[in-house]
Amino acid sequence: MNLPELQEKLIAAARANNPPSDHVPYAFEKRITALIQARSVRAGMDAWVQGLWRAALSCVVIAVACGAWAFFAPDTTATTSEDLSQNFDTTLLASVDQSDFSQ
């Protein structure tokens, strides 16, 4: 079989179908607009969700950092708090002490 001639005939057959139909389905443009609008709403929601996730992650990082700092930092407040409780006891019980002396 003459292949070059067959190739030419088939290309000519494809050309005979040229240009193909340009029929557009009914309300295709409405569908595209609806898709674009739905996508933009979804994109807005995605932005919010992404923002919230980032904020949550930042909060976790800050909480962990504060926890680590509270755990590992030298305990400089212990004596102060002891003094405070002692002062509080003394002040609160001062009247009782005085009444003991008076008897």
Partner: protein, 191 residues
Amino acid sequence: MERSEAEIIAAVLSGDAASFELLVQKYSPRVFATARRYARRESEIEDIAQEVWLKAFDKLKSFRGEAPFEHWLMRMAVRTCYDFLRGHQRNRESSFSELSEPEDDWLERFAVAPESVSESADAAKMLVERVLEKLSPEARLVITLLEIEDRSVKEIAELTGWSAPLVKVRAFRARGEMKKILARMTKEKYL
């Protein structure tokens, strides 16, 4: 008052997505005609057209207005069709033994008297569709643009984003690939 294309594009870029509908309405026939060259099923054609328009909307910012919007859109359509071909290569390995009766008949008549068969016959159109389906995506794209649409190498380079020498190389390889497919088809039929 009818708005110009540049005004419509500016409106879309400033957030008026509804104006995009005017562009879709105006250029969809060309997008569908392009998609019909590379896909057969109507559902696939609609998917391609939809993808073209969604890409066009997303990339509208990159449209500078130096060339007509239609050229910019057609580049996008051709590249989307090429992506479609690369993603749908399922028919390339199928055999020619399932030719329909009219296709078989057309081939037999061609074997006997090549000049007597008509290229406008439906059987010839179906047959060429089968052959095109068996080509690699690059070969199919370049054969369609160069041989069927009769475009120049420069035009094809602009549409596909390939360099002109690459288009020529791919066109040469595509013709060879088509010849091999035709040889396989006739061998399967007559052996």
